[in-house]
Structures are given as structure tokens and as C-alpha cells.
């Protein structure tokens, strides 16, 4: 109950503030000394991640998610993100990241006696140029008797115009999520992404009419 209220409250507040302020989803490691807040809202729930980049290959932070479909639960705890491999090319960049954490999970509305140990890990691979974007992500979650699941996500996107550093950048994307444990396992979401300097926001509506809205702020 406490975990759920804390995370849901934080996400709602963040969502409201983001709507008021205006602007998504980014690499889990930024620049050394940089802090990044990522907040995601879709038909599966609300996710909040805060990361601080320690070295070019390691970021530490917090990850939390409230699931609102299927088994409703909230999970939260510290997370370590690592850059496994990066390809810096003249016209593109490719990356492989891992995101691993451990913490507590609790069914939404349950008492503290229901709190369980949880651990999660994931791998994210992406490649982008100024014109195209592709990514693939696989996540595994273990929370004792509350949740044992895996899901995967793929994205492709293109920029309708080549924006430079000081311009508003616009991307048209297609996201496909696969949650094998859920009754509606596949979700396809056309979306649009905008970013300007250190703020990024994206939104879309999936083929079932469910809304997705994400934002990221770098400091």
C-alpha cells in the first residue's frame, strides 16, 4: 500500500507537472555527473527512474513501477545501469546497455505483510542516425509469489526533417510491446517524440486506444 501510494502519487505529480510544463524515453546513461529523470505512463502502469551517471559506463539510481494491468503491484528499489558496448560512428551510434536492480514489491492495496523481495534485469540495444532510430529491450522481473515475468519491446522511428542541435527535434515512431503473461500480450503504438535540448517527451495511442505518455529531463 505504502509503495503503491508513494510511487503512484509521485508519478501523478510528475505527470501533472510535465503536462503543465509541456514535453520520453532515453538511454539509461547520460554524461558523467549528469542526472536524468525518466517517467513513463502506458496501459501497463506508471514507471519512474532517476539515474546519476558516475562514469561513461555506469549510472546508479532508483527504479519503480506500479502495474495497473493483470497482477496489480508496485515494485521499487535501487538500480545500476551499465554500458556494455558502444559504437561511435561518423554518422551513427549503437549501444548495448543493461539495467539491473533489486528492491521490494507489494500488491496494490495489500498490507506491509505482503511485501516481497524483488529483483529485475534488462538489456537494451539501440542504433540511431540523425534520420533513423531502432531499439530492442528485454526485461525480466522476479518478485517471489507476486510476479515472475518477462516482456520485450522494439521500436523503429524516423525523423521527418534533419534537426540540428539547437532545433526542436521531431521523431515518428512505432513501438511494439510483448507481454507474454498478459491477456492482451501484444501492444502496437504509433507515437511521436519531441525533444529540445535536455527535455524530451513522447506520446501515442495504441491500436486498442490506450494512451502512452513519457518524458525525460536531463540535468
Amino acid at each position: 500500500m505504502f509503495l503503491h501510494k508513494a510511487l503512484h502519487g509521485g508519478c501523478c505529480l510528475a505527470l501533472v507537472s510535465s503536462l503543465i510544463a509541456a514535453p520520453v524515453f532515453a538511454k539509461p546513461i547520460s554524461y558523467v555527473g549528469g542526472t536524468m529523470i525518466m517517467q513513463e505512463n502506458d496501459e501497463t502502469g506508471y514507471t519512474l527512474a532517476v539515474d546519476y551517471t558516475l562514469t561513461p559506463k555506469i549510472a546508479v539510481g532508483f527504479y519503480g513501477k506500479t502495474e495497473i494491468s493483470g497482477d496489480k503491484f508496485t515494485v521499487a528499489g535501487p538500480q545500476v545501469n551499465t554500458l556494455v558496448k558502444r559504437w561511435n560512428l561518423p554518422e551513427g551510434q549503437g549501444n548495448i546497455f543493461t539495467m539491473t536492480g533489486a528492491g521490494l514489491a507489494q500488491r496494490n492495496g495489500a498490507g506491509p505483510n505482503d511485501t516481497q523481495f524483488a529483483a529485475w534485469t534488462g538489456v537494451l540495444a539501440d542504433y540511431e542516425t540523425r534520420r533513423i532510430f531502432t531499439s530492442y529491450e528485454l526485461r525480466l522481473m522476479y518478485a517471489q509469489h507476486i510476479e515472475k515475468s518477462a516482456w520485450q519491446r522494439a521500436r523503429i522511428g524516423f525523423a521527418p526533417y534533419l534537426a540540428n542541435y539547437d532545433d526542436l527535434n521531431t521523431w515518428i515512431m512505432l513501438q511494439v510491446d510483448h507481454h507474454p503473461a498478459k491477456s492482451r500480450a501484444i501492444s502496437v503504438t504509433p507515437m511521436v517524440r519531441f525533444f529540445y535540448k535536455s527535455f524530451l517527451a513522447e506520446g501515442g495511442v495504441n491500436t486498442r486506444g490506450e494512451v502512452l505518455f513519457n518524458w525525460v529531463q536531463q540535468f
Binding site: 532515453a26 561511435n88 560512428l89 540523425r130 534537426a163 539547437d166 536531463q218
Partner: protein
């Protein structure tokens, strides 16, 4: 005569100081995403030697203007860009 000497000395000192400011142009690989590249700008702006910075995705360049009398070595430029996640290909300097 004394005023003329003082004026000339002042001009020469100012000219010498101004000459010490320089423009550093780094060619960078991997710099394709404006959102991600903001780390470069933020890192350089924390340096006291930096007067201005410009990131150009199209030209793959990071241009840094130093303050008069300030210096920024190649090693520092390379570290700041590498720490932001990119690869430095070349560094050129213009007085």
C-alpha cells in the same frame, strides 16, 4: 608623453590577453542525437576556462571558445567529450 606610454602599454596588454583566447574545434563521432549531446554542452559549461560552446550535429563539430588568458588542453577536451559518450576524431585550434 607619459599618457601616451601608459595608453600604449594598456593596449599591448589587452591585445596580448585577447590573443590568448582561442577557439577549439573538435570533430566528434557518434554525435547524432541532440538530446544526448546536451551532456557535452553541460560539461563544458562547468569549466571556468570556457566562454562559449557550440554543438553542430550536421558538421559533427564541437566548437569551444575559451576565455582570455584561459587554456583548455586537448586531454581535457577529449575527456569531457568521452565522458559524455562520444569519440573525438580530431582537435584543431585557432588563435
Amino acid at each position: 608623453m607619459r599618457n601616451v606610454i601608459v595608453t600604449l602599454l594598456t593596449i599591448s596588454v589587452l591585445t596580448a590577453s585577447a590573443a590568448r583566447a582561442e577557439t577549439i574545434v573538435a570533430t566528434v563521432n557518434g554525435m547524432v542525437c541532440a538530446f544526448c549531446a546536451t551532456g557535452i554542452e553541460k560539461s563544458f559549461k562547468k569549466q571556468t576556462a570556457v566562454a562559449a560552446i557550440k554543438v553542430d550535429l550536421e558538421g559533427r563539430k564541437v566548437t569551444v571558445q575559451t576565455k582570455p588568458d584561459a587554456t583548455l588542453g586537448d586531454a581535457v577536451v577529449t575527456k569531457l567529450i568521452t565522458d559524455a559518450g562520444y569519440a573525438v576524431v580530431d582537435i584543431a585550434r585557432q588563435p
